[in-house]
Symmetry: C2
Subunit: 339 residues, 2 copies
Amino acid sequence: MPKVSLTKISEILGMSKSTVSKALNNYADVSPITRKKVQDLANELNYKPNIFAQNLRSQESNIIGLIVPEIVHYFFSTIISGVLKTAENFGYSVIVVQSNDDYKGEVKQLKLLLDKNVDGILLSLADNTIHFSHIKDLVKESMPFVLYDKISKLIDCNKVVIDDVKAAQMATQHLIDIGCKKIALIRNHLKSQTTIDRHKGYKKALLENGLVYNKSIDFEGPDFSFKTGKIAGIKICESHKEVDGIFAVTDLMAIGALEALKEHNVAVPEQVSVIGFSNWFMSQITTPHLSTVDQPGLEIGQTAFKLLYQEIQNKKNNIKEPSKTVVIPTTVISRESTK
Amino acid sequence: MPKVSLTKISEILGMSKSTVSKALNNYADVSPITRKKVQDLANELNYKPNIFAQNLRSQESNIIGLIVPEIVHYFFSTIISGVLKTAENFGYSVIVVQSNDDYKGEVKQLKLLLDKNVDGILLSLADNTIHFSHIKDLVKESMPFVLYDKISKLIDCNKVVIDDVKAAQMATQHLIDIGCKKIALIRNHLKSQTTIDRHKGYKKALLENGLVYNKSIDFEGPDFSFKTGKIAGIKICESHKEVDGIFAVTDLMAIGALEALKEHNVAVPEQVSVIGFSNWFMSQITTPHLSTVDQPGLEIGQTAFKLLYQEIQNKKNNIKEPSKTVVIPTTVISRESTK
């Protein structure tokens, strides 16, 4: 079925194209009779307006860009889901891209999104992004822009985060409350803000409870993976039998540690208690079920979109507002691994 | 920084807009000197072409739509990842939407994507989609369109699938090969093609090995969930002690069954062997590690995009090709739960 054009309708009715266009858009300077005539024929012929022409007029695409570090990642899936649901309610579509948690990927994806003339961008920083000129340029050009989850304090824009210091402190406090005295930390390097903050929270809890921070049981790996958690778990089993509690900064690392403990016949939670971070779905189905910190991705995604939408509206209306940071609350979920 | 327009460049250089446009697009009827003059100034002023105007001329958006039943779902995450990677290589962006595995959601999302003038659409059918007029209309209007994973044989279009009958037969055969004689099936209702086919494969394996199909150990639940798997597992423990093998049509159901067996102190694999389907990441970290069928989502996503891209090219060149179905091979992965 060929597409019906505005020209076709104007020819059939013997009206000018501008009259037809005005009638379709309900302009007041077209009589109700003409309007009805045009709209009836448009319906009958299944006329669809040319969205490209509309975009050209409005200079808006009603599309936003969402950059995630990784697609195959439970937590980011929940964020994507939150963004999509909210965007849809506001009439926006979402182009999703991944940076592969890499600075160069992030710069490239940002450029691709700008080439698509998106109305705004949501970004969670790649783990190795430590220069921000690609983002500062955006903000300077007044592109609506919100950072979520992995952010930098060096960028002046709206942000949605959790309080990682507080959340990590709560997780460590949970281990202390159930009697742990020698608490190991499993984490990645101290480059990303997330890890810096969780490390801080861990040390803060120790300090506030009169426990000594011991560098030899603060295990640093190259990433957040199962394998990194397992390697640290093996070291604990083999060389740090004094450890009675483990806080891993991701569930995946905690589950890796659980596997190491199981292979070394260390009973969880009887000999060692373990707590993770994020509340990934799989933490509910490990043996034993993993205690963790709930990091509400859906809510982070919803809030990030709403902030972006507000920025888009402000830009249209030439309103400038100071940047704000919304902190989404987290909770400790106690399961079998720390009872 | 305000946007620099083509008009601005033409004013500064005292040339017509059409000359400037031709120079920027490397047309041969503009002298090399003029071309260089225009392009140098454009670079200097950081001129960006108006993508909306370009889209209007080409009637192409270089954006495709990807409809997935669920975002927070490991298998679909791997498909999204495969589509994004391949699309990017071909210069396309991807609007991702979810149908919530629901017919009405699917119809709505399809309409929204059409309103965005995407160049093509990739769709995995919702579980309860049994009418297809919304899709047949698309295909009739020559919208490039590919079905992946959950498809219907009633729609004439390009498809990417796995051979569910064969894969389920292989999974059941694996249980038979290790000595199982009373093999239970855990599945959802027989409405989706996926379940129909896996059910068929299960029965085929029994038949070919001279084992009797027994309706009382063919467990049907309302969905593919952990809970549905667990409920079936409990029934097996309580009323079907003869069962020595379980094939669940998703990993999630298999893991639910594992939990029921553990709670009833039934040893896996000593008393009952369990195999799932999909090779979700978490199947590697359950206790015991779950045997399963690998369903390569990344490859499904990559192949689906490539088929769609070919359709988009064919449409431009007015080429018609008969529809084809690409079958991606699957393999049985043997882990602790069936050793």
